[in-house]
Structure formats: C-alpha cells, structure tokens
C-alpha cells in the first residue's frame, strides 16, 4: 500500500491556504486528482516528488519511507524513484530525443529499456531530432518515455495533455494507459477533463481548497444520486431562446452543440454560461458504427 499524508501552508492566489490530505493508493492503480485551479493538485505532486517541502506528513511507498517529518526523514528528489511528466514538456533542448532518454538511465542500467520505450511509444522516427523540431504531442510522448526509463515506483503526470488538441489528447491517453498496464505502474494524473478522468482512472480524488472533497470511482463521483438517468452529459449553456410557449436551450457538450426543448419552470434557475446536466430517463438510444 502507498500511504500519503501531507500538510503544508501554501500561498495561493487568494491568500494563504492549508493543504491537508491523507490518501491511500493501491499499487498498480490509476488515480486522478481532479479539482479547480488553485486546489493544490500540482503542489501535491511536487511534494510527493520532493521538489516542494512539506510542513508535516509522511509518504510511505510500500516498504520504503520517503518522508516522515516526525522522524526527520525526507529523501531528496534524486533518491525517490519517480517518473514526472511536467505540463510544459521540459525536454532538454541540448539533447536529441534519444539522448534525452539515455540521460535518464541510472548508472549501470541496461540500455535495452531505451530501445524498448522507443518502440512502445513509437518514437523511432523522431529519435534523432531535437525537441524544438517536435510538435506538442510528440514532445509529450518523449517526456512520457523519459519518465519511464528509470522504471519508477510511481508515475506523476501533471496535466500532461492540457496543451494538446482533442485528437492528440485521445492518442496520448491511449499511450499512457498502455504503458500503465505494460509496466504495472502506479500512476497519479492531474486532469480537468471529466471524460478523460472517467476513461483513465480507477480512482478519483476531487480536491477543493487544499482538502479532499470527494473520493471514489469516477462514475460515482461525477453522477449525482438524485437523477437515475440512463443517459447523461454535462455541458455549458450557450443560448436560451423563447419560441412561442417553449424555450430552446443550446448546450455545448464536448465539441458538439445540442438544442434541447425546455419548459419555463425548468429554465428559471438556468442562465447562459451555467454548467448543466442533460439527462434522459426512459430513452432508448440508437447505436451506430461510424
């Protein structure tokens, strides 16, 4: 079991905030940290990796103690076996793709892993290029491969996909899932996208203002108990128009616009810009392959 308890006073954008969390993670599982900006998600990853100091707490990685403030134990980032993928790629500009991976090797480590990762993450064509000749998605694939070279005990992904477009995102999600399974990694991902969270994670930790708001399986977190909907999406209200006795509400769900008919009492509490749930109960959706 991996046990992480962290407490630290942080200076957030709107004043000081106490980050106080206590989580257990099953080795080999995929956990997502979800929550608004400034909730402390990145700080948590930085504390796990040792890049940010902790006021009080402990990190127990199976049988190894990485941090125990009571006993004065605090391993340096170099001594913790982590793979960290940063939001802004952070490939070393002075090295080619392959050199970036080779740099990550530990002393005496078999170089076979570099070859294997180049194959798994399909970097063969890019391996002799410098980072400035790569697209965002390619850079992030290299960063992912580089983080795996040391065979980390825990893989930390700090919003690695947020700068990518939709199709590239989906491709990278698949790469992440495949290496997560292949190398039996314990992974913590930060994500803002509900669809991504549901697709990727075994477990979601929803954070708000430095505290755990909700924790559980993704579907349990994102579906509210009040609606027993068979079918539901969340989206943003773009427009509300009155047509004779009914209202037409235009909702942006993902990248699609949907027009939904509503009655006056339904739209009373809804304004343009609100995030709403579109759900249907007795409904038999058609499935068609495209």
């Amino acid at each position: 079991m991996i046990h992480i308890a962290l407490n630290k006073k942080l200076m957030a954008a709107n004043g000081p905030m106490i980050l106080d969390i206590d989580i257990d993670i099953v080795p080999g599982s995929f956990t997502t940290l979800y929550g608004p900006s400034g909730a402390g998600k990145t700080s948590i990853l930085r504390m796990i990796s040792g890049l940010l100091s902790v006021d009080e707490g402990h990190i127990i990685m199976c049988n190894n103690v990485w941090l125990n403030t009571k006993k004065g134990i605090c391993l340096k980032p170099q001594q913790r076996k982590i793979g960290f993928v940063f939001q802004d790629y952070t490939l070393f500009p002075n090295m080619t793709v392959k050199e970036n991976l080779i740099y990550a090797l530990e002393k005496g480590q078999d170089t076979q892993i570099v070859k294997e990762l180049i194959d798994t993450i399909e970097l063969a064509e890019l391996q002799d290029r410098r980072p400035d000749k790569l697209s965002g998605g390619q850079k992030q694939r290299v960063a992912l491969a580089r983080a795996l070279v040391r065979k980390p005990e825990i893989l930390l992904l700090d919003e690695p996909l947020s700068a990518l477009d939709q199709s590239m995102r989906i491709k990278l999600q698949d790469y992440i899932l495949s290496v997560h399974k292949k190398y039996k990694l314990t992974t913590i991902l930060i994500s803002h996208e509900i669809s991504e969270v549901i697709k990727m994670s075994d477990n979601v930790i929803q954070l708000d203002k430095g505290r755990i708001h909700k924790q559980g399986k993704p579907l349990d977190i994102f579906t509210t108990k009040q609606v027993s909907g068979k079918f539901q999406f969340s989206g943003e209200v773009i427009d509300i128009k009155q047509e004779e006795v009914i209202y037409v509400v235009t909702v942006l769900i993902g990248t699609n616009f949907v027009k939904i008919i509503a009655e006056e009492n339904e739209i009373k509490t809804i304004n343009i810009g609100d995030t709403i749930i579109v759900a249907s109960k007795a409904f038999n959706p058609l499935l068609q392959k495209i």
């Binding site: 980032p77 170099q78 960290f84 070393f92 740099y103 530990e106 410098r130």
Partner: protein, 224 residues
Amino acid sequence: MIDWQPLLLTFKLALVTTLWLLIIAVPLSYWLAYTKSRLKPILETLVSMPLVLPPTVLGFYLLVAFSPASALGGWLHDTLGIQLIFSFKGLVFASVLYSLPFMVHPIQAGFTNLNPTLIEASYVLGKSKIKTLFKVVLPNIKPSLLTGIILAFAHTIGEFGVVLMIGGNMPGKTKVASIAIYDEVEALNYNAANWYSIILFAITFGILLVVYLVNGGYLKRFWK
C-alpha cells in the same frame, strides 16, 4: 617595426584571466542566480564595483595591500613566496577582479532566464546537482557563456589603469600593449604607437563582432 612582446603579453594575460574568471564566475553566478541569502545584494554590489570605480582606485588599493611592507603582502611573500606587485601573477589577480562583472553578469542572466523546471526535471530523473549543472544547465546557456568569455577577454585586453598601478612597466613581465602605446607616445614615437593601436582596434572589433553575430542569431546554425 614594433616590438611584439607587449602584444603577446596582452593576449597571454587576457587568456589566463579569462580561464580563471570562468572557473570563478560559473559557481559565483550560479550562487547569485539561485540563492535566497540576504547577502546576495552585497555580493552583487561588490561584483559590479569595477564597472564604476576608476581602475586606478582598484589598482591603488591592490598595490597597498600586496606591497611586501603590508601585512597581507608580507605574509604572501614570506609564507607562500608569492609577490603580486610588479609581477605577471599580480596582473592576473588584478585583471580577474577588474573583469569579474563582465563574466559574471551574462552568466548570471543566463542562469536566471533558464526554465527552472529543466533543472527539476533532471533532479527527478535522479541526477545530482553537479551532473545537472554540466549536462543540462551549462549546455543550455551557451550564448551567455560565450558573451561572458568574450567580454572578459576583450575587456582585459583594454586594461590600463589597474595594470599600470600594480604591474608598472616592466618589459616582458608587465608591459602590456596598452602601456606600450602610452610609452611610445611619451617618447614621441607615434608610428609604433599607431601600430599597437591599430592592432588592438582590429582585434577588439573582431571579437565584439563575433559576440553580436552569434547572439543576434546570424551564426545560430553553428551553435546548434
């Protein structure tokens, strides 16, 4: 024609000074760029002093400090057998102090402008601070290093006041080109003074041109 010895001595001095400066300035700039110490402003001021101080002031104090009659100079002479005034070693020492800001400022700026997550990325890959410095940080601030090296070199070539104060005018030992020019003019030997001057002018022009060409991106392909 002219005596080449002062010119050779000038370049020897500039080369040795630049090497010493590189050894001193890299750790010093690294410390200045990343420290949170309260001593930082004081050290930054000290490093920058030679920019505004008349070279003769620096030269004068070095002369006083290192004269065998003073405590420090006497100790250096008696214990280590080093005499810094009127010697090449003294010139190097004074030049290192005098050109320090020209080396430290560009390198410090290079460290400060480098994306700090690059360093963190190296740490989380298990690499030590030293390995990160040599494999990640320094290779990525090459233009700043080049600027520092060349400015320090060129500035040392142009020294006069400090060198005259601490080194004097001893042929083959401390008589550098800038002093030789002064000497020749004093002796109304304008032709020789002109030769020294034109050579210094051409070389310093060439050196500075290289800096602007490289850092302006004109020669970027050679540095990739």
